[in-house]
Symmetry: C2
Subunit: 210 residues, 2 copies
């Protein structure tokens, strides 16, 4: 599926300024856009080099393989959302306030960084088993963090939650699916509005009624 060079997706142009040299960054962003648009398996290294307006050989100068580009995108994407969550949770607060902040960050990320979100959520089947394990470790940290916050609220009596693991899955699920629907639904919410909406809904799902 060869194609002419094209502009990167609007939410990816400014990403990952730390990737050096500039040709490596252009290739990584071209891979990100191509994987998001057509899927990892359907993208060739030639598609990537054409999007980056570089020669096909340029890919291998900077990356050993297409799989390594996917692994790098997944590492960076997961590390970014994890860092945003950890920053949000550094501020003390009630369990409700802390869960709200988790949800706001996690759901708005998948709207603001939709292209990254689509690749890190839907293209994991392209990872090698080593790369998958590294990403699974990062994902286990999200699950651990949300469960810890839910448990804290159950302990104070603020939350009425019968199955912490299942609610944890649901909270992450709501945020992850934003990467699929955002921009296509008739709803025109900003990423921050998506975060606030989900925070309100999750609060109603978990807070004890009296």
């Amino acid at each position: 599926m060869s194609r002419s060079p094209r502009m990167p997706a609007s939410d990816t142009r400014a990403l990952w300024a730390d990737v050096e040299p500039p040709a490596a960054r252009r290739l990584l962003l071209a891979a990100l856009d191509a994987f998001s648009e057509h899927g990892y398996f359907a993208t060739t290294t030639r598609d990537i080099s054409q999007r980056a307006e570089l020669s096909p050989a340029a890919v291998y100068v900077h990356y050993p393989s297409k799989a390594e580009m996917l692994a790098e995108i997944c590492r960076r994407g997961h590390a970014e959302v994890l860092e945003e969550i950890e920053v949000a949770l550094q501020v003390p607060g009630t369990p409700t306030e802390r869960v709200r902040r988790f949800v706001q960050v996690f759901s708005s990320f998948h709207a603001r960084r939709q292209t990254v979100g689509r690749v890190i959520q839907y293209e994991l089947r392209g990872l090698t088993s080593d790369a998958f394990r590294a990403v699974a470790d990062l994902r286990a940290r999200f699950e651990h963090l949300i469960r810890a916050e839910l448990r804290a609220g159950v302990e104070t009596g603020e939350f009425d939650v019968s199955d912490i693991d299942a609610i944890g899955v649901t909270v992450l699920s709501l945020g992850i699916d934003v990467a699929r629907w955002y921009g296509s639904a008739s709803e025109r919410l900003t990423p921050e509005q998506v975060g606030d909406l989900h925070a309100d809904l999750v609060t109603r799902m978990i807070v004890a009624s009296n």
Copy 2:
């Protein structure tokens, strides 16, 4: 990406017994499994014929193109879930009871028919524009149905919902994402338990507190 014949996914083997002749059905189920596993763009007609243990030419005897197979899968998948919802909503009930039934059917479908769910939710970008429009019409009917039920509960005062469209998107989103996470999460819920969990959570999201 040619591959040896393999068993169909466990949730697809018994599907679509009405597709005739049997070779057409085997091809359609092989396409379903292949699209779910590797994505539409990365699947060749040769992959499909090999999975169905038929010659490469057999595909074109029964289907004009790979795109037509995707369209047929999407039509059938959407029609099935829509039919399940319509049956569930034929029974009268309070707005809460009716929304619960909608959510139970929609969320459990995406667990029980995970392979179908993955294709009809994540492979739509492979549809031709005509086929996409037909599927978009079916999807608009889900949205219309859930909004009508939410509106009914707001009118009786049973629901406290500030933005019916946004809650409608959220209800569908919860169900759709089941096709991604079901079976991979540490949670081991049956499809019916997923439906009940989501019905409980959506009820808490929407029911007025006094």
